[in-house]
């Protein structure tokens, strides 16, 4: 089952899987800056175009993304602007998925960490190390997170 997994941030890590043991490709897409610091529309629009292009080019059956941290979580460090940007990204991901008839699944950050590292509080270096151990030469933690999201999604779907 072809799956596109996303680590949603301004550096969108993505991983395209053909099945749980076959990664087709992975990379990081850099979200462009807006015209001003508050200009989120430009950034969301760019994400919309990029994601729609990914779906057209790679034809995934499912999109999975990392659920954004809720502002009421005690360990949430992001400021209000970042929270708004991240929640906007997930809204766009769901919208684009619905537009293309693709199933959409959100994966809590801790579930992705638990699946890849075995520790739901794993730090970034541990995520990268775990991805490398699996043979994926990731360039940054965003790509490692996307791989964790993909594996957690396959587990959720019962595909091994």
């Amino acid at each position: 089952m072809r799956l596109l997994a996303l680590d949603t941030s301004t550096h969108v890590g993505w991983a395209l899987f053909a099945h749980p043991h076959r990664v087709v490709d992975f990379d990081t897409w850099e979200m462009p800056e807006g015209n001003t610091a508050d200009d989120m529309g430009t950034r969301w629009l760019a994400f919309d175009f990029w994601l729609a292009g990914m779906i057209r080019n790679h034809r995934p059956l499912t999109i999975a993304f990392e659920a954004p941290i809720s502002p009421n979580m005690p360990f949430a460090k992001s400021n209000t602007r970042t929270m708004r940007l991240l929640h906007g990204i997930t809204v766009i991901a769901e919208t684009v998925a619905a537009r293309h008839g693709v199933r959409c699944i959100e994966v809590p950050n801790s579930t992705a960490k638990l699946r890849l590292v075995g520790d739901h509080r794993a730090k970034k270096p541990a995520m990268i190390a775990a991805a490398l151990r699996l043979g994926h030469q990731v360039a940054d933690d965003n790509q490692a997170d996307a791989i964790g999201v993909a594996l957690a999604t396959y587990e959720h779907l019962g595909i091994s």
Binding site: R22, V23, A93, P108, P125, R133, G135, Q137, A152
Partner: protein, 180 residues
């Protein structure tokens, strides 16, 4: 809202036999019998914990004495502490951390080159190794896997992907060249 993935954990707690929450669990005021059920258990667990803490304190003191004696005998105590800490960590994670420390020291133009030779862990996936070989332009006949095996096919698929990437890069470069 999108469907939410859940991790599969063993030993998941279940409600009562009929699926309804048991009395006292978020269902209004907690009756006395619930407290009476738990208080003796808490009392017992506290006694066991206090007893164990006393023993742990004694053992910790003994351990400190052993370390002190080792130090007096010429051993580097900090080195022992660090090595024991490293031994508990994951090799790949340590390799990444040390490689990054070496990188930062290099950028700082520090004369300390202790971490300069630390390499990131090698790729184990045949597909990615094949992809790198394809990008380097190695011949497809260099496939090191056993012919007919799944790893052999993966390496070959990776090699093809690497070659395809090279072709696309070259196509992009030639398109950028000015016409004569």
């Amino acid at each position: 809202m999108a469907e939410r993935a859940r991790s599969r954990r063993k030993g998941k707690k279940v409600k009562g036999a009929n699926g309804v929450a048991r009395a006292g669990h978020n269902s209004g005021e907690v009756p006395d019998e619930v407290y009476q059920r738990w208080l003796p258990k808490i009392e017992l667990a506290t006694k066991v914990y206090d007893s164990a803490a006393k023993i742990a304190k004694k053992r910790k003191s003994e351990l400190a004495s052993v370390f002190k004696a080792a130090g007096n005998d010429g051993c580097h105590r900090d080195a022992i502490h660090r090595a024991r800490g490293f031994a508990k960590q994951d090799r790949a994670q340590l390799a990444i951390e040390f490689a990054e420390v070496g990188r930062v020291l290099r950028l700082m133009e520090s004369p300390i080159d202790l971490f300069a030779d630390v390499k990131r862990p090698e790729i184990t996936s045949p597909y990615l190794r094949g992809q790198q070989a394809g990008q380097r332009g190695d011949p497809a006949t260099d496939n090191p896997e056993i012919p007919g095996s799944e790893a052999f096919m993966d390496w070959a698929a990776g090699w093809e992907n690497g070659q395809q990437g090279n072709r696309e890069t070259l196509k992009g470069d030639s398109a950028a060249l000015p016409l004569a």
